[in-house]
Symmetry: C2
Subunit: 193 residues, 2 copies
């Protein structure tokens, strides 16, 4: 695994040049996760700012009734971390799990902060990542409030079909905010078209 994808990802936001990207990427260390392995577990403080190079992951939490609820999916080429635990140094309430064998590049909180301090351009990148995640979540929230489950499913199918290829449907169901039975019926209805 080379750092090519990571460097490319750093540059793509526009704040970071190729030379800078190479230096910044130099601070990241490889990290491998077997299928079903955990990048983060509830109760622990997240210490990985993780760029997923290959594989597929999800984040989930247990609600008060003990249901496993998927909160996010991550495809290769995305940043994976739990905002609140990582930046506030507080115990996580979420798990982050490899759905397939995964490899990527990781940096610790201390090191990330050092980079933020030393490199204004990387700081801008960091803020852009926060904003991107925040804005994406707002979109999802709005859809959750205003769209029916069937519409949300079809939007997901269009926007991120790879999720359906890697994640079990019950995880997709909790991500969409419905039961696995309902999702099954939604799929049945939508395949008729």
């Amino acid at each position: 695994m080379t750092k090519e994808k990571l460097q490319h990802f750093l540059q793509r936001t526009g704040f970071i040049t190729a030379a800078q990207a190479e230096e910044i990427a130099g601070q990241f260390r490889p990290r491998v996760l077997a299928r079903h392995g955990m990048l983060l577990e509830a109760g622990k403080v997240s210490d990985d700012y993780f760029f997923l190079d290959q594989g597929f992951m999800r984040a989930f939490a247990y609600d008060p009734q003990g249901n496993d609820t998927t909160t996010a999916f991550y495809a290769a080429g995305q940043l994976v971390f739990e905002v609140a635990s990582f930046f506030n140094r507080t115990p996580s309430r979420e798990y982050i799990q490899a759905l397939t064998d995964c490899q990527g590049w990781s940096i610790r909180y201390q090191e990330l902060n050092g980079l933020f301090h030393a490199r204004p351009e990387f700081r801008e990148f960091g803020r852009a990542m926060l904003v991107r995640g925040y804005a994406g979540l707002k979109d999802r929230m709005l859809a959750m409030i205003t769209e029916q489950a069937a519409v949300r499913y079809e939007a997901l199918l269009r926007a991120q079909p790879e999720i359906l290829q890697h994640a079990p449907l019950k995880n997709v169901a909790s991500y969409l905010g419905v039961t696995d039975s309902s999702l099954s019926r939604i799929r049945k209805g939508s395949s008729k078209k």
Copy 2:
């Protein structure tokens, strides 16, 4: 209106001393909004990083069906801004509206960036605000997926009863992700207890 609340707010995160808070607060300008006035309108680029000193506000968006959907409420003592539009300098999809007469302190994007650049402690504050908003939204999303509307309503009643005193119920309803009729029924059921 004095800058006392603003200074106190800046300090409360722990990154900023009293002396620094006074200097930073010096960069903010007063801003007044009459009831129903707009701090931000869809289509415009947000240029207010706004601390609400007195009053009550809400953010909302129109969904594809044209429904007015409340995405957030803001009580006095909170920061009010639309993340994506403000930081990405892109047109907003949301409106931010005064529900009562409001006053507060505002700073523009350029000035904020200048402060971030000049003051590492304020930068930390800024990141903490982003993380707080992001994490809060995640909690809300999880509740939206896993809790019934009646439970969400009662949680809101416990955590932010002031919302019910200032916002019309139809706004609360769309915030909770239900119709105004449903909320009315939920309230009826919940008052029986």
